[in-house]
């Protein structure tokens, strides 16, 4: 009973947050709503007994990713309203709904759902951090290492891409130099 | 070395071609001629070492490539493929030797060497996948030759050539995969080796579909009516050397593949489709001959005549008896020599006048008597004059098909009439009459370089016309094996009766008369 209440509550909250994320015209709202949605999702993980995953969710998404977005947004002009594309909203929503309905229909179809439920009952004790660690460092060791390298590479790439001329500081430059830089940038843009 | 002579034959030109990139521009021609000559000498050695009394494959090589799927690098040569390989080497040699001034000569020669590799590969491959790989690879150098050195519409022509043949061969690939799958179903092991496939007896309904799949690929390559329209464009736009190789060797891939794949693999389907294909062949023969007659461009005349002659080859192939198939294999060689020579000859006049329109010529026999003579010899070979190489093949092909159908042979025989009509008309327009155009008055006659290419061809034309035995005998032995295989494999009553049982007949070739 408690599980059901929690599920529906968090389901409602998650859907609401994500809905705001995709509909709001304020980037900051969107960011905040997304962060909130992430946290609510971690709740599902806890309900499902995937504690470690829940923790990772909060740390990585709400902590790291959101921070990254927040920093990223500082580069862009986020104060103004986000212009949305003109176009038929019905198509968009319709397509998405159709997609969702089909997927639901597939899962709800007797043949699929019967197979799924009747085969494996839920097991207690699975999902604790220890067992996750065991699996992660034995069976999935190589993917884990690869993921680590990938993250490293992504980090380096992020720095290299974003960090050009990071050694220059606007506060340490005088006005003329800044103007010159602007001109150069403009030239590049024009070319 | 003899154990690997086929691999050497295939890859020597390719390696030499790669090395060619390092050769200086000025000496590339000598290098190319040298390589092609060595290759030709090797192919002659192959002939020398070939035991013409053996009907099966010789010089087999077998290296596993993907054993789990039965894909192996299997090579081998029999009487059917031997001479086409030699012809390929020969034409590459004289092609390079007679190459007139072209831009990017180096690229051309290297491309030709690569093309040689693919051609010899196709004719010596005994594994369907290897065969397919070489088959498709052969498109690339030809595409390049047409696209880079062709006439004003070269891009259109080369793309058309490529897409057309490529589309066909994809269908063929599907057929091959199905064939391998059926083989797997029947035996439990995968194999793409043609010789393994030969042992597989398929039910007639499967044969029909597979035959059709293979047919599309081969028919476009031949090219059979109504898939022939890429050929005139390709010939019209290709440089001389491209046309020569295309007509002499590349087209033979299709007819060769009919004999290598379609007939022995699907004997019942071959009998089933014999009449429709014969009708197509007859349409090819007469229709394209008439179209050839309407051409204004002499190269197009030769191109359409090529299609027309290929019709006779197809007809001989589907005679399904030893005489017809031997004739068609011989005609492949004959047609290679003759049409190759005709394209070279057209190239000679094109180099001098930069036009191929017959209305621009006239009276050339006055100014270029040697050229007119050689052209005349090739013309007569083309119309099937006895004692020239073409006659032997044409005669045997038609003779063979006569056993299957009298009336269709009569119709196909119209080839010798219509062939004479367009060829003689073209010759008359070009060579006879007074010299009407001033530009033609001082044309130089064929020079030494051109003679190097043309004289051997003329000699072969006459020599094999008078004494075809050295070539005919190995072909005959291999063809007898094929026909016997077909007879043994065929399941339907009709096929059994259409395909003769060779072993049951006393072979009276070595009669007592020949003994003395």
């Amino acid at each position: 009973m408690f599980e059901a209440v929690a599920f529906y509550l968090f389901a409602f909250l998650t859907i609401a947050m994500f809905f705001i994320t995709v509909t709001t015209s304020q980037a900051l709202y969107a960011l905040s709503a997304l962060a909130a949605g992430m946290i609510f999702i971690s709740a599902f993980f806890f309900i499902l007994g995937a504690d470690f995953l829940g923790a990772v969710q909060i740390i990585v998404y709400t902590g790291a990713v959101m921070a990254l977005y927040a920093f990223g947004m500082m580069f862009f002009d986020t104060t103004r309203e986000v212009k949305e594309k003109k176009g038929n909203k019905f198509i968009i929503v319709g397509l998405a709904t159709l997609c969702a309905v089909i997927i639901v229909a597939i899962f709800a179809a007797p043949i699929v759902s019967d197979n799924m439920l009747s085969l494996y009952p839920a097991l207690e004790g699975a999902g604790n951090t220890q067992s996750v660690g065991l699996v992660l460092f034995t069976k999935y060791l190589i993917p884990f290492e690869v993921a680590a390298i990938m993250l490293l590479v992504a980090m380096v790439a992020g720095i290299v891409l974003a960090g050009k001329k990071m050694d220059l500081s606007l506060t340490l430059l005088n006005a003329e130099e800044i103007e010159k830089m602007d001109e150069e940038i403009n030239k590049k843009v024009l070319s | 070395m003899l154990d690997h002579i086929l691999s050497i034959l295939i890859f020597f030109p390719a390696l030499a071609g790669v090395m060619g990139f390092m050769i200086d521009k000025g000496s590339i021609r000598a290098y190319g001629v040298a390589v092609a000559f060595v290759e030709f000498a090797l192919s002659l050695w192959l002939w020398f070492a070939f035991d013409s009394n053996v009907s099966g494959m010789q010089f087999m090589e077998n290296i596993a490539l993907i054993p789990s799927f039965g894909i192996n690098y299997i090579l081998g040569v029999d009487g059917i493929s031997l001479f086409i390989i030699i012809l390929a080497a020969f034409f590459t040699m004289i092609g390079i030797a007679s190459l007139t001034e072209t831009k990017n000569e180096k690229n051309m020669i290297i491309t030709l060497l690569f093309l040689e590799m693919t051609m010899i590969g196709v004719f010596s491959a005994l594994d369907a996948i290897v065969f397919y790989v070489f088959w498709e690879l052969s498109l690339v150098p030809m595409l390049y030759i047409i696209g880079a050195w062709g006439g004003p519409m070269r891009i259109y022509a080369s793309v058309k050539f490529f897409l057309y043949t490529f589309a066909g061969s994809l269908v063929m690939l599907v057929g091959m995969l199905f064939m391998a799958y059926f083989f797997y179903q029947a035996t439990g092991t995968w194999s793409f080796a043609i010789l393994d496939w030969y042992r597989l007896i398929l039910p007639e309904s499967f044969q029909l579909w597979l035959f059709a799949a293979f047919f599309v690929g081969f028919a476009i390559k031949v090219p059979m009516f109504p898939f022939h329209t890429w050929l005139p464009y390709a010939h019209g736009q290709a440089p001389t050397i491209g046309s020569v190789i295309l007509a002499a060797i590349l087209l033979k891939m299709g007819t060769y593949a009919f004999i290598r794949f379609s007939l022995p693999l699907f004997p019942d389907a071959s009998v089933f489709f014999m009449y429709p294909i014969a009708v197509i062949a007859i349409i090819m023969i007469i229709y394209t001959a008439m179209v050839a007659y309407a051409q204004k461009d002499v190269k197009q005349v030769v191109a359409y005549s090529s299609v027309s002659h290929m019709g006779v080859i197809i007809l001989g192939t589907f005679a399904l008896n030893v005489e017809g198939i031997t004739g068609s294999v011989f005609l492949m060689i004959a047609h290679g020599v003759v049409s190759g020579a005709l394209f070279l000859l057209v190239g000679v006049i094109y180099d001098r006048r930069h036009t191929k329109l017959m209305s621009e010529f006239g009276g050339l026999a006055h100014v270029m008597p040697r050229y007119a003579t050689i052209f005349g010899i090739m013309l007569m070979a083309s119309v099937g004059m006895p004692l020239t190489i073409n006659f032997v093949g044409e005669f045997l092909s038609l003779l063979g098909f006569y056993e299957q159908s009298h009336i269709l042979t009569l119709l196909a025989g119209i080839a010798i009439v219509v062939g004479a009509i367009y060829m003689l008309t073209a010759y008359k327009k070009m060579f006879f009459g007074e010299v009407t155009k001033d530009e033609n008055r001082n044309l130089p006659d064929v020079n030494k370089r051109e003679l190097i290419a043309l004289i051997p061809l003329a000699i072969i034309t006459i020599w094999l016309g008078v004494y075809p035995k050295p070539v005919l005998e190995p072909i005959n032995n291999s063809v007898e094996a094929v026909v016997q295989l077909m007879h043994n494999k065929s399941t339907t009553e009709e096929a059994k009766s259409r395909i003769p049982n060779v072993s049951g007949v006393v072979i009276s070739k070595t009669s007592t008369r020949e003994a003395h």
Partner: protein
Amino acid sequence: MEIGLNHYLILSTILFAIGLVGVMRRKNLLLLFFATEILLNSVNIAFAAISHYYGDLTGQMFAFFVIAIAASEIAVGLGLLIVWYKRHGNIDLESMTSMRG
């Protein structure tokens, strides 16, 4: 009332649909990124739920890797966005038409 796998799957589907809506209607690339995050997360829920109900940790592992990939994607994606912004002064999808066929 028992919460079964289907509930989670349907939730995941709904979230996925919302993500799709975002992907389709957002013009601002940054906000488009948000939408992709939603898509990834919706899948994560499905993974975790399946893992739970099947008693197999593989699902969680996948979710874990998805998170890792999402993180690196954001790192690289944001870097690229910044470069783009420096060049063009905006991050509108409409301006990215150099891939026109």
